[in-house]
Subunit: 355 residues, 2 copies
């Protein structure tokens, strides 16, 4: 199979590596930066580096547009113009209605792999980047079924789990689970900076503030584009957030303990169903383990639970201010597994409690 | 020194253990639950368990009220009534204006140790729980200077860093850096649950949603009290949050890329100054390291940086969905240290990038 990749950064480069190694594909790559093209070639992410997008696309059966969100529409248009009549063209952008509207062509299927946001650049491209990752596809009414199926098989070959979703739902869900958390992180730090006053030091208040604001001020070059590309879904999510904050505000002002408790309990069960769904049955339990900060502690715990067949749904490590000790939160599904995990951790002599 | 502790859970029990071991104090303990009293005695958290609060307090030079927030005011009143005229009485509640208003007695100093929120129960009490922890004290105009100084020295003896703060500032800061993050976590999961629709599964969207919602639905028995006790400061923080969300909303709706970028950049510098303040100079840099999920990886990185004198300001570990690999975010202060850290990690053969 012949594949073209327009934009050989982390995502484009990883597609190239996986396609060459796993599908024995012949990969043409274009990037506006000649240095990047050269690097991609050297690293084995592509078979040949070409001078322009049309040349890359000309004989390809599948075209991946991995350009920044702000340039997606024009690069997709270029790709569709140059691609063969029976080629499938897709993109990897994080919002999908925008490209769906721009590419009313039966050969186009919007795509969004949920992988690789951590690093950038072709030097971090990895063959296994998409292993087990959801790869959203947003077919439209006029999308060719044959080409959709070809793309689906290609993605499975890359290690991903292609999942069809309509573009509108995709963007709404991304607004809620990705873009809104970023906005709230930004708001939280601004709020705290004001509450603390100029130059005052952040008190050590435990991990909640750090956890909640880890993504504050995320890479501006990328995130300004993402916010704007999905702005109407994000505005709707913001409106909903403000409504919910008003409800809490009212309960607080009325000192309505019952309403506050019910709201808090609902959040607990929402989180459990959101982050636990799709796994074995039962509620997710949180265990908090106090551990010394020495090598191998996390490994010891993970191995002990692994040997006993206890699956760790999620984990979070919070070091103490002086890094001498820390707390590991472990989420385990089901009463049985939680009890077993608690016993196993206690046997390792670490203080453990259900949160 | 003779000390009384009313409420011997995690905090009360840890005060007892540290006071007995480090200050050679004689500790009387009371808890409304006879089983807990007995356990505290057995674990060495107290020297004697007494049947009522007045008996515990009678001959004490310092009284620690470690009752739940909802019962603080009445237990403090009981303690003040029974305590000697030259005894100092303090509490460990997470909001401070409430108790300040209730205890207009020169012997009373409000207190709040920033430690120990992770686990509960005297069985997790530790002598070193307060080591290096900020312990806020909220003296009022009429507080006895002699008694304040005695309490201060006691807390230093327990390993803590007592820090005076006025009750109003304390509650405002806690609203921003602790209570508001909890509210926003709850709102985020409710919002996402609605966006996803009933029964739909949470997509793997990277760590931002998990990080932002780790504290969603925190222990309702404790948090309903905390929210309500600090409700006016929290309402003010909510109002400020809504204002800030409206500003973002406007910038998004106007597709004002410049305003969005500036707002995002401001958040980055706010977070850096909040979480980095008080440490060596320079901006905090975030390095993201892709690592295999095998024992000792984190230790290897931490040790390599430690040997080179690079201080890790903060760290966060995000496993991939299948736990086969993960990303470690490291925050390092100063250009020099960041560069050194990047080189050291690269030498360990882990992909690393500035975020």
């Amino acid at each position: 199979v012949r594949i073209a990749i327009l934009g050989v950064g982390l995502i484009g480069g990883s597609i190239g590596r996986a396609a060459r190694s796993r599908l024995h594909a012949i990969v043409s790559g274009y990037d506006p930066d000649p240095g990047v093209r050269h690097q991609a070639l050297e690293l084995g992410a592509i078979d040949r580096a070409v001078e322009g997008p049309a040349a890359a696309v000309a004989d390809a059966e599948a075209v991946f547009v991995a350009a920044p969100v702000g340039q997606l529409q024009s690069v997709i248009a270029t790709a569709l113009q140059a691609a063969k009549p029976d080629a499938v063209v897709t993109d990897v952008g994080s919002t999908k209605r925008m490209v769906a509207a721009a590419a009313a062509d039966e050969r186009f299927v919007g795509g969004h792999p949920l992988a690789g946001a951590e690093t950038a650049g072709v030097r971090h491209a990895r063959e296994d980047l998409f292993d087990g990752a959801v790869w959203y596809l947003t077919p439209e009414q006029n999308t060719s079924g044959v080409l959709y199926e070809r793309l689906h098989r290609l993605l499975v070959g890359l290690g991903a789990r292609p999942t069809a979703i309509d573009a509108e739902t995709h963007d709404r869900v991304m607004a809620s689970v990705s873009h809104l958390p970023h906005v709230l992180a930004n708001v939280l730090v601004a709020q705290a900076a004001q509450a603390l006053g100029g130059g005052e030091r952040m008190p050590h208040t435990g991990p909640s503030f750090r956890d909640a604001t880890r993504v504050a001020g995320a890479n501006g070059a990328i995130w300004t584009d993402i916010y704007l590309a999905n702005r109407d879904a994000l505005v709707a999510a913001l409106d909903d957030t403000v409504d919910r904050l008003s409800d809490v505000r009212r309960a607080l002002q009325n000192a309505d303990a019952e309403a506050v408790a019910a709201w808090n309990d609902a959040a607990r069960s929402d989180r459990e169903s959101l982050l636990g769904a799709g796994l074995a049955g039962g509620a997710v339990h949180e265990l908090r383990v106090s551990v010394p900060n020495r090598p191998g502690v996390i490994a010891d715990i993970a191995l002990a639970l692994g040997r006993a067949g206890v699956n760790i749904v999620d984990m979070a490590l919070s070091p103490s201010p002086d890094f001498r000790q820390g707390v590991v939160a472990l989420w385990v599904r089901g009463d049985d597994q939680a009890r077993r995990a608690e016993t196993l951790v206690a046997e390792l002599q670490f203080p453990v409690a259900r949160a």
